[in-house]
């Protein structure tokens, strides 16, 4: 059969992923009310990225997909990272050098 594209994932794996996603949702809500300073954002995004990764790997079957699928998925997120990184490099560094004559 072709490169695992028709891999049949056992139901218990779907249920385990579902349970993990619900648990992480509860955790991210709870931790949002705890003051961690700047770490709040880091934790919230860390949980979101982990949840998204689980969905992509198991619900969307990428774990069992071909190398070509991996390439397309990764390039999608890679270009998103470029867009965010370069935009923020501009926004964050704007005040650094001061205004001429200011």
């Amino acid at each position: 059969m072709s490169a695992g594209s028709d891999h049949i994932v056992p139901i218990r794996i779907y249920l385990a992923i579902f349970a993990a996603l619900i648990a992480m949702t509860a955790f991210t809500v709870w931790v949002a009310f705890v003051d961690l300073g700047p770490l709040n954002l880091v934790v919230a995004l860390g949980v979101a990225v982990t949840k998204a990764t689980l969905v992509v790997l198991f619900f969307m079957h990428v774990k069992y997909s071909s190398k070509l699928t991996w390439l397309v998925v990764t390039s999608g997120f890679f270009f998103l990272a470029i867009m965010i990184a370069l935009t923020m490099a501009d926004i964050v560094s704007r005040g650094w050098l001061g205004t001429p004559g200011g």
Partner: protein
């Protein structure tokens, strides 16, 4: 899994046939999968533009964003997150039962997915209603007495555009799922041909992922 062999003369659609430009049903299957992923990569960047906009303004006006975020209902947002994750589970199970050729089960799971998606949209409608009622919709009637109204308005503009675009994706998803439900009930999908269910599943899970990021960014910032 062993696919049924094509019946010689290629019929246009059907459980065991493939279109004439493909060498095999497997090749057709992986080509359609790849096509869907290219579409989703494009969707990542499509939503990405909004996430970048959010990041820029959140960085520029963190106080106003935190204040504005307090006006969203965490309980409803959390409930909707659970509903959407549940709909992703039923969608995954629909694909699973299509792969195994279980007609009744896949129909049931598709209907459950539609139901959960509709509950999500219903809750979203209630939330939007509250925002109109509380004058938190950007525009002439916007009222934000407890702080930086100008920049809070940016937060709510992003809130409506991002959740609105997400909801639009869900409406389209539900429409596609409705068609699939009828097809599944009629027995169009089985172990040899289930690409439409699988590709719709990819789309549905992608929409779930968008919400996985929208929920903390919009509802949970500045709660502590």
């Amino acid at each position: 899994m062993s696919s049924r062999a094509p019946d010689g003369a290629h019929t246009h659609l059907g459980a065991s046939a493939y279109a004439h430009q493909f060498d095999s049903a497997e090749q057709q299957h992986s080509a359609s999968q790849l096509g869907m992923w290219v579409f989703i990569a494009q969707e990542i960047l499509f939503f990405g533009g909004l996430f970048v906009t959010y990041t820029v303004y959140r960085f520029s006006y963190p106080q106003a964003f935190a204040q504005a975020s307090h006006h969203l209902d965490v309980t409803l947002g959390c409930f909707n997150t659970a509903v959407l994750i549940g709909s992703s589970l039923t969608m995954a199970l629909a694909v699973h039962s299509a792969q195994l050729g279980q007609r009744r089960r896949q129909t049931l799971y598709l209907i459950l997915t539609i139901l959960l998606g509709s509950i999500f949209l219903g809750v979203k409608t209630i939330e939007y209603g509250h925002k109109f009622h509380e004058h938190l919709v950007p525009g002439a009637t916007f009222l934000f007495p407890d702080g930086d109204a100008r920049h809070a308005q940016i937060f709510f503009s992003l809130y409506f555009v991002m959740t609105g675009l997400h909801a639009l994706h869900m409406v389209i998803g539900i429409a596609i799922l409705a068609v699939l439900t009828v097809m599944a009930w009629r027995g169009s999908f089985g172990s040899a041909y289930y690409s439409p269910v699988e590709l719709t599943g990819l789309y549905w899970h992608f929409v779930d992922i968008i919400w996985i990021f929208l929920f903390p960014l919009l509802y949970l910032i500045g709660r502590h």
